[in-house]
Symmetry: C2
Subunit: 296 residues, 2 copies
């Protein structure tokens, strides 16, 4: 089995952005402390902030204050999510290393989420990519609902692949496929990856308890880039009843056991998890955080 697994994977930590955006607002200095703790654990790529309206998402207010409180780290990619060109301009001015944008593969989800058609969103991404190209900053385009939509159900893999290709044409330097409402399975992953190729990142959710399983299956299929969130924070539209994002602890514990390198120290990561739990003020969903690693 394990001979089909990669020697290493690239883990992008999204907890400080995707994880915290649904929590009660936390002071920028504390968000910076969490980012710093994650970098200390060996995280080398992190979505640290978003440049969204502080009225719309109070928990993401003051991204500049978060970024300016961060220590300098060599070889680290600090990413910022932006919803539009104005956000991109602010992020570029703040000298982030990477920009993240999202477009849903579900027309209805996209409309409800950003009140735009998919075509309008792709045009917005095109403008953002042009601006980032001028600044020499890479853009990761995240396709949400790539493995199913709560509105349309299954999204044809050809539609996902077509949207991915349009986003590449628009100038995206990387693509991530997101399982926004936890509808991915190894079968759906295989279908979609056959259409898009495996040179994509995956953003997986535990909504239906399949995040870690899908990450494992996707590694076997050749995927090498994954998002995860400290403690499993965030990511679920069913936050009251189910876990959200794939937890970094659970993923790193699995990869350590399988001999797949991440560069992240699980022991130090668990210290960052404790800080995250302290900051959000409630229990983190990650079972490995709660129970400890298998050889404890």
């Amino acid at each position: 089995m394990t001979r089909t697994l990669p020697a290493a994977v690239d883990v992008r930590e999204v907890g400080p952005r995707d994880g915290l955006q649904g929590e009660a607002p936390i002071a920028p200095e504390d968000r910076a402390r969490l980012v710093a703790a994650l970098l200390d654990a060996g995280v080398r790529r992190i979505e640290a902030v978003s440049f969204v309206s502080p009225e719309a998402v109070p928990a993401m207010a003051q991204p500049r204050a978060v970024l300016s409180a961060l220590p300098r780290h060599e070889g680290v990619t600090i990413a910022a999510l932006v919803p539009n060109l104005r956000g991109a301009d602010m992020a570029l001015e703040a000298a982030v290393d990477e920009i993240t944008v999202t477009v849903a593969a579900s027309a209805e989800y996209n409309r409800r989420n950003v009140n735009m058609s998919i075509d309008e969103s792709v045009r917005a991404v095109t403008e953002i990519c042009a601006r980032c190209a001028d600044a020499g900053v890479s853009v990761d385009a995240v396709v949400s609902c790539a493995f199913g939509s709560p509105y349309e159900g299954d999204i044809p893999s050809t539609d996902v692949a077509q949207l991915a290709e349009r986003l590449r044409q628009a100038g995206a330097t990387a693509l991530t496929l997101a399982d926004t409402t936890g509808m991915a399975t190894p079968r759906v992953l295989a279908d979609v990856l056959a259409a898009t190729g495996t040179d994509v990142g995956l953003h997986l959710h535990e909504t239906r308890g399949t995040g870690l399983l899908n990450a494992y299956a996707a590694m076997e299929m050749g995927v090498r880039r994954f998002d995860s969130s400290v403690g499993g924070l965030g990511g679920s539209p069913f936050a009251e009843t189910a876990a959200g994002n794939l937890a970094t602890e659970d993923f790193v514990a699995l990869l350590d056991d399988l001999g797949v390198r991440t560069g992240i120290s699980l022991a130090r990561l668990l210290r960052a998890s404790a800080l995250a739990e302290h900051l959000v003020g409630h229990r983190l969903p990650s079972p490995v955080y709660r129970v400890g690693p298998r050889l404890g």
Copy 2:
């Protein structure tokens, strides 16, 4: 990927025994209602009761009352866990179809659990198997801590295989390897299965969020028999903080999606889950029960 998966697997439901044994006691008629609901959903093999001391495990009291309240089902295997020869005699008198016994691969776990050495436990199993052979009843010997022990850590796979072989020699007609404290990973599974062969059942736990992943990986490795528990009830020594047994809902939802037959109707299973939740009086851990199947 999916071409390496089996056409069908055998799911043994253990909720009414393993799931309920750690809950507040439920009336025998209600436990029988739950078993009947699970059989109605298509379950064909079910650990329904145990013949243990009602003082030691009040939740498992009155197994005869549970069994006699069950409707007749054609082609169904009703199993009972027994801790010793006396329990086996009672179970045989009650005309169960299968007997389950357990021995830990961890000497320390076995000592703490049943106050016997592994040798003493194997001798007890030998006596039980002889009695069951006379009655023409099969015995499934469950090796607990097969993928790691909270006391000894990793258990050498040769030790697990040796114990499995001794239990076969003792007369066990089937073997199940149990991940008692959620320490299995695909790597450990591959190691142990290479030593024991894949003609074993697996009893997996979600203690560290790896139950569904391990079931998937084990199917790829050739395993065809699995235990699961309605709602994910039971099975965890960390019940306050983490999920327990692999949930039947989560497993069946995955298998349905992968095209692996179980004979179980997910829609009817979810009705049995609702009954289980009502009976135990608290939320079930299964995410698929809580959130619903991916296509609703």
